[in-house]
Amino acid sequence: MSKTESDIMRIVPSRRAVLQGTAAAAALSFDASLARVFAQTSGPIKIGVLNTFTKSVGLFGDTTFRGIETYLEEHGNKIAGRAVELIKEDDEFNPQVGLQKMRKLVESDKVHVILGPLGSHIATAMIGYMKQSGTPWIVTGAGSTALTKERIPSMYRATLSNWQVANPMGTWEARNGIKDVVVIASDFLAGHDVAEAFSATFEKGGGKIAKQVFPPVGTNDFSAYITDIRSINPAAMYGFFAGSEAGRFVKQFQQFGLKGKVKLTGFQSMLDSDTFPLQGASAVGGLSSSIYCETLDTPENKHLIELYSRKSKELPGIFTESGYTTMRIIDDAAKLVGGNIENAAEFCKAIGKTNIVAPRGPVRFDPETHQAIQNVYIREVHEEDGKFVNKVIDVVKDVGDYPGNKA
């Protein structure tokens, strides 16, 4: 029955089809939770991928998706013996759209698990609904620190928390002779989150925050801000931008002559394998902190690089790795429950038991807040054989969730 259900939901309804098909589905579709428990476990596993595939951060959604595909291709498109159906939805980096697509995935497509989103503001908007719906939800991109404070039982964050990554950088910069910093971040939830986390620890380490600036989301021309930073002339700047904004900012930073004068440091999405094609040589020397580094010399990472090289001539970035590792987590958890992921409660518990070595290093979940506990790497951009790569210059091991999130 679940197979015909999914077929019906996918047909474009002509009036006839709507009345015919949905009448048949109406009996089952009305009480979604019942369907979840009683449906059989041999149909395809439906995974809803809610991410941003357009706008300036679209490239991160694309690479996340490629990471997911990489894992599936490696495993014959099967999870715990069942075929996998990926349903891709674009939230356009807009919470309103994201909510609509989320509803569609849960109510219309009836996915077994939702992956995503990318934007912290979208994730925050989703909280109320997802809490109610109980659909397993694995966050693959959004890092808002407060998300894991919500204690949603069916949610796990398999990626970073903003605090987790920005915090160690603040300490590191203060300790390494950087006296003052201008913080510049995109004017939305994640930008402010990261700015706060970095600033707090940087100041605690004895540094001074010269200024905090928040350009609107979607800014393409940073000339006014960069000129301003130049006049302040801090030792370093710490930036949070994503996607093509990050690309543009770093490039313009160099064009206005700041590279070399003011140290370029930032959040992981500023200086990542995905943004290097846009930035080129202007990124060299930039520092960032991240849960992943594409040049990690471990067998797991080498394996991912080899697989990914079949899909792309770029090295995997943080989002590719996120997609890949998230699928591995789902696979392991699904195997643990014998493929019966329809039983959402058991499936979620199995996810909680994750304890693996991923390309990024060891990953396990905080039992209270469901935040992934992992290493944070301080990375520097180098040029190597004509390519631009991040290299690890320091590691902070086993970083957990923001202490304020725990009871």
Binding site: K55, G58, N220, A224, T227, Q252
Partner: protein, 288 residues
């Protein structure tokens, strides 16, 4: 480089980009009375076509020269097929038509090139930064300033000093009389619309390396362009020039030093001008 000077330069760059766009808009309104809500779409089309030209020929300069042509042709077609029939009707219908067209263009652009944000690179010869007045400034942006001022001069000469310009001015000032003395007004109208669109397309290519090329850029630039011509005076080239520079500089300084208030203040200024001096700073009284 002195902070104020650098920021002024930045404002000048943005202002001149706006001018390239707003001049066409002002011309179209001044001569045809049409509030062209598809003007941003012409900008966007120019940018995307420019992107393709660069992909095929590898040359930014070819994009600059070639991209405005298809945009002008499309605009001319629109004027003849759609707009022409609406002149007898209410002004509103023309606005609504151009509004509907903007949706069509957005979709066509996404169809043709995709929904991503694309990068149009500066020409290689202008890739570096110049050591200038004690600071660094990207060559490309300096080139924009030079180019923008050149276009402004060219347009001014064209409108004020040539016969073609005189015809256009006649058409703006008094259409019926212009027709009465034998000017081929329909041809002038089509040409004006197409020229305005070509300017917008050109602006799209020039702005590509700075603002990016993506399917939402039409709305991003359309609204500032309207602010410019409202404040500067609809139908006035001088107004478009002064207005663009004002807005460009205000936006730049506002972003850096008054981020909370700058957007709000600019719209407030627009409202005040509309109420107190509906013809803007330089618009002619009674200009439609």
């Amino acid at each position: 480089m002195d902070l104020v000077v650098s920021q002024l330069l930045n404002g000048l760059v943005y202002g001149l980009l706006l001018f390239l766009l707003a001049s066409g808009l002002s011309l179209i309104f001044g001569l045809m009375g049409v509030v062209n809500l598809a003007h941003g779409s012409f900008f966007m089309l120019g940018a995307f076509i420019g992107l393709s030209v660069v992909r095929y020929t590898g040359s930014f300069w070819w994009a600059l020269v070639l991209a405005p042509i298809p945009v002008a042709l499309i605009a001319a077609a629109i004027e003849v097929v759609f707009l022409r029939h609406l002149y007898k009707r209410d002004r509103t219908d023309q606005v609504l038509l151009t509004f509907g067209l903007s949706f069509v263009f957005t979709d066509l652009v996404e169809w043709g090139w995709g929904k991503d944000t694309f990068s149009l690179s500066e020409p290689e010869s202008l890739e570096n930064s110049l050591q200038f007045l004690g600071g660094y400034f990207p060559q490309y942006r300096l080139a924009i300033v030079v180019f923008g001022l050149a276009v402004a001069l060219f347009l001014w000469l064209l409108i004020e000093k040539t016969r073609v310009g005189a015809m256009v001015r006649a058409g703006i000032d008094d259409t019926r009389t212009a027709m009465g003395i034998g000017l081929n007004v329909p041809l002038i109208l089509t040409t004006t619309f197409a020229s305005g669109a070509a300017l917008a397309g050109l602006a799209g290519v020039v702005a590509g390396p700075i603002l990016g090329v993506y399917s939402g850029v039409d709305v991003e630039v359309l609204i500032p362009a309207f602010i410019v011509i409202v404040i500067g005076g609809m139908g006035s080239l001088k107004g478009a020039f002064v207005g663009s520079l004002l807005i460009g500089i205000a936006d730049t300084f506002g972003k850096a030093y008054m981020p909370e208030a700058s957007m709000f203040l600019i719209y407030a200024a627009m409202i005040i001008v509309l109420l107190a001096r509906p013809n803007g700073l330089f618009g002619q009284a009674g200009s439609q």
